[in-house]
Symmetry: C2
Subunit: 252 residues, 2 copies
């Protein structure tokens, strides 16, 4: 499905921006890049900035018009920082755009980015079915080309990930095993016992116990951390202290 989501760059001036856009695409799982009349391509600067996404650059197709780039697409979203000049449906939220794009991506769909300086012409916007803008600082809202690609590719990836068929799992280390309720209970009993034995708590069911239980609930200690804490408690218990002072006594 991500394979059906095409990125189209129209008449890019700096080849480095093509490379950086390819990298941005690849970080978000997009691979289909089409270039409309790039000023300079292929170019070593494009490959250099692709930095690991050379495969996206190498398989990019070059065409001579936006129409040609998107004629097989069922949805074509023009990214435009300019105010809308045509009454195309307009997404103010890239997130909403991405959800719809992914919904339509059983067939080819496209995200279209204009020239660095002046974006898309009105004729090119007419090749689009929708427009999207990236919300930004009203006083300085112009993202660099590759950064606009990054933001929209990121939203697209997020939307795709939420679909059950994406089968996406956040790569992460095996979670620390969580303690059982019983293990937690034993810990809190142990803690209360130590606090009583030390004379810190003098009455039963003190509010302090509840407060500490809440604190540890927020910290969500793993099983390993809980066993660390119990070890600490054991070393603080008066019984242990007695044993230790006994052995010290023995030594004297």
């Amino acid at each position: 499905m991500l394979a059906n989501i095409r990125v189209v760059l129209v008449q890019t001036y700096h080849p480095g921006n093509i490379g950086a856009s390819a990298r941005a695409m690849k970080t978000m799982g997009l691979t289909d890049l089409v270039l409309v009349n790039p000023r300079c391509f292929p170019d070593p600067e494009a490959s250099r900035l692709a930095a690991g996404a050379e495969d996206v650059i190498d398989s990019a197709r070059v065409v001579t018009s936006l129409k040609e780039a998107v004629s097989d697409c069922v949805q074509v979203v023009g990214a435009s920082a300019r105010l809308r000049s045509l009454p195309l449906p307009h997404f103010d939220e890239p997130e909403a755009m991405a959800r719809e794009l992914v919904d339509n991506a059983d067939d080819p769909v496209a995200l279209v980015f204009g020239r660095e300086r002046f974006g898309l012409t009105n004729d090119e916007i007419r090749c689009c079915s929708h427009q999207v803008s990236i919300p930004a600082n009203p006083g300085y809202g112009i993202l660099n080309l590759a950064q606009a690609v990054q933001v929209l590719a990121y939203e697209t990836f997020k939307a795709w990930r939420q679909r059950p068929e994406s089968d996406y799992r956040q790569p992460r280390p095996a979670e620390e095993r969580q303690p059982t309720r019983e293990q937690l209970e034993h810990f809190h009993e142990h803690l209360s016992r130590v606090m009583r034995q030390s004379g810190f708590l003098t009455q039963p069911h003190a509010r302090t116990e509840t407060q500490l239980q809440a604190l540890f609930a927020r910290a969500q200690p793993s099983r390993k951390e809980l066993s660390l804490l119990r070890g600490l408690l054991r070393s603080l218990e008066p019984d242990t202290a007695v044993t230790r002072s006994t052995s010290e006594d023995d030594r004297t």
Copy 2:
């Protein structure tokens, strides 16, 4: 409130990345940049890639440790592509991170980005209160520094924008005025009349009328477009046609 959201770049290698990060920040309304031991700063390449965000570069502070950069902060979020090495609270979703960051931004808060090649050291991660990762292609998930800044700044701006005190309005041209319900009703009456007069509709309350009403409801024509459509209908009305054919008759 955005003024309290600091971006900290740790030991950046390429000065161009500092410039591009400053630009990314400014597009999302962030201005407080702190550099920990940058390899090369100030540098013309940083200013060149700032491209309009030179003010962010010019007011950037340089410090010698991450601790110094964040000591006044109430929340410090380390952006890390690496698997978590310390049991800090970890945001898998930049969106959730941004909401919390903005919630805390009555006091200074920080987003911390590590070195281009190897991110943050464990000692530096210990200066953070939280970690965040950007969801990405498991096979190629390393965003360029400035692009990681762009994505997290974008999420931060989105979160800020949703707060009532942001008073943010999407800059957009004055909306085309929408037609009143009465104007829409007149249009649909006109359309039905033309369809009947032409013989296209032969029975009252045809399903076709309902279908066309739904279609125009989806298209949400502006007042101007509606008047265009009514002009078209007028030109198609048999009465007008009669007049035209009459005048043609006259001519023969």
